[in-house]
Symmetry: C2
Subunit: 325 residues, 2 copies
């Protein structure tokens, strides 16, 4: 059995998408157990269901909430959910609530893995090589990092890549504004010096090559990583609009567009990280997945699936082993 704790209330869209996603999930995965945390009144569709336990909570931590406020809101769905990871001995937790509140509560209550300086959000990305993914971290858990943090991110990224993609010695790249040694801010120069002796370290990589397929793990400070993540989303949106325009220029291109629509939608899904499943908070003692704030049923379901798969693969134990080695 894989036990998932779900913050039913934290997202922008309230309980409706989470209730729908949980209902479907419990049917699709016979070895999944759900601990649903939220307002009992609105969770009635889940009441009495097999393998579903409801933990009542009465308040919701608002999106723009600070860490201290989140710590004080002891009856909020996210606070109770994070505590339920310990109390119910769960394998994973999923929340669509405030990133800051969720991350700090998980870090403070469930605790970091030994040897981890600061947890990071790690995100797999498609590349120009078929069936090759690249893994980026940190894409937004931290606003500011030290060189030691970035070196630690590299180790966590390698551990994740090994476990999820089964590659023996994943390579490490460091994002930068150029590839020559000596480029970058003082933070990146210092990190470069620290990583230099690591045989897996392949040097700096520029924004244009992160998704080319040449890299396995790319390390960012949380601020830059977050801008990278959101820039790919914005660029994809811009291009989608332009493509539609290009394919409405003649009756033939319109017909072709209809036939290619399936492939085109697949592409849009691939580029839409909201549908990919959410961000995995790497470095804490549980599988913590942050679903997108405005997740709908499909998106929340895929976050749950991501959490389930990572837990089933024993990712936490494997990361621990790899960080020790």
């Amino acid at each position: 059995m894989i036990k998932l704790v779900i913050d039913m209330m934290g997202g922008d869209n309230g309980y409706k998408p989470t209730v729908a996603a949980v209902s479907r999930f419990i049917e699709d995965f016979p070895d999944a157990e759900i601990v649903a945390v939220g307002n009992e009144k609105v969770l009635t569709p889940l009441k009495g269901k097999d393998r579903v336990k409801i933990i009542p909570s009465t308040t919701i931590v608002p999106m723009e909430c600070g860490v201290l406020e989140a710590m004080r809101s002891k009856d909020s769905s996210v606070y109770k959910a994070v505590n339920a990871v310990i109390d119910e001995e769960a394998d994973a937790i999923v929340s669509a609530g405030s990133t800051g509140a969720f991350l700090s509560l998980v870090t403070l209550i469930v605790k970091k893995i030994d040897g981890v300086k600061r947890p990071a959000i790690i995100s797999p990305f498609p590349t120009r090589l078929k069936d090759k993914q690249v893994v980026l971290l940190d894409v937004g858990a931290n606003a500011e990092n030290s060189a030691d943090d970035l070196v630690n991110f590299a180790a966590m990224g390698v551990a994740y890549y090994k476990v999820v993609f089964g590659k023996e010695e994943p390579s490490i790249h460091l994002i930068c504004n150029g590839t020559e040694e000596g480029k970058g801010t003082p933070l990146y120069k210092e990190t470069y010096e620290l990583l230099k002796s690591n045989p897996s370290f392949k040097g700096y990589i520029e924004g244009r090559n992160v998704l080319s397929g040449e890299a396995d793990v790319v390390v960012f400070d949380g601020f830059t990583g977050n801008i990278f993540l959101k820039t790919t989303e914005g660029t994809a949106k811009l291009m989608s609009g332009m493509i539609k325009e290009a394919f409405t220029q003649s009756i033939w291109s319109k017909i072709g567009y209809l036939f290619a629509k399936k492939g085109f939608n697949k592409l849009k899904d691939k580029m839409d990280y909201k549908k990919v499943g959410g961000g995995f908070l790497i470095g804490v003692n549980t599988v913590a997945v942050k679903a997108h704030g405005n997740a709908n049923e499909v998106s929340f379901y895929s976050s749950m699936k991501m959490a389930y798969n990572l837990a089933k693969n024993g990712i936490i134990e494997k990361i621990k082993e790899n960080l020790k080695a």
Copy 2:
């Protein structure tokens, strides 16, 4: 007459694309004069041409060259070209050579405009709104900036936007990892505080919305801006590959693709900043355009056209007026 100084030798592809671009340019623009700086032996196709003056140079500053080395290479094409801006009283200069060397030579020799702290590379970008462009700076002149630099970038960006797009009061956004006040690194928080009282300042903008069309001027530190710029390029490349795949799924989609190809290529050009013209170095006393290092004839020609248009519009004088106001 608009007088352009051209560093004929600095780019990765040597003199061939620059000689071809200059030959075409001089025919297309009867009011353009060219000062071509480079190895006399290879510039023979330009010899004796009307409105072309050749200044001989014997060496080339290598791409990875540092500033000090560039300052010492007094017979290099870029050093002589930058000096020619003063000696020949030229209106503009174009180089495809080392960004660092070019920028520092221009800054040191031609000097900054009064009131400018650090020059920046400014780049216009297409947006999701038809016929609306957004202007980004700094996209790579600096590796590290202070909050004062960023405030100064905002003023330069506004001046540029007014002159080039004719909008009375362009808005200012600051890139960040979230839109709420209090987000960002200490640098961005400090800049936010400094810009807050400016009525044109509309707050933080996330990477996903920079190209949405809502912003006029978006301010970045040089490191983050460079990563933004190159990330859009990498994402566009990834998507182009995926689109091709989507449109080869059936005979009908292939036919449609053929009919849409023109529009599709236009889109690729729009997203390919190499073809857009290069980066304008804003904040110095001349129109300095940095062509892409591996510029081909088309790309170098469009950099020349960019320089010509900006000079013809009197951009430097107008920026000066706007910075005073």
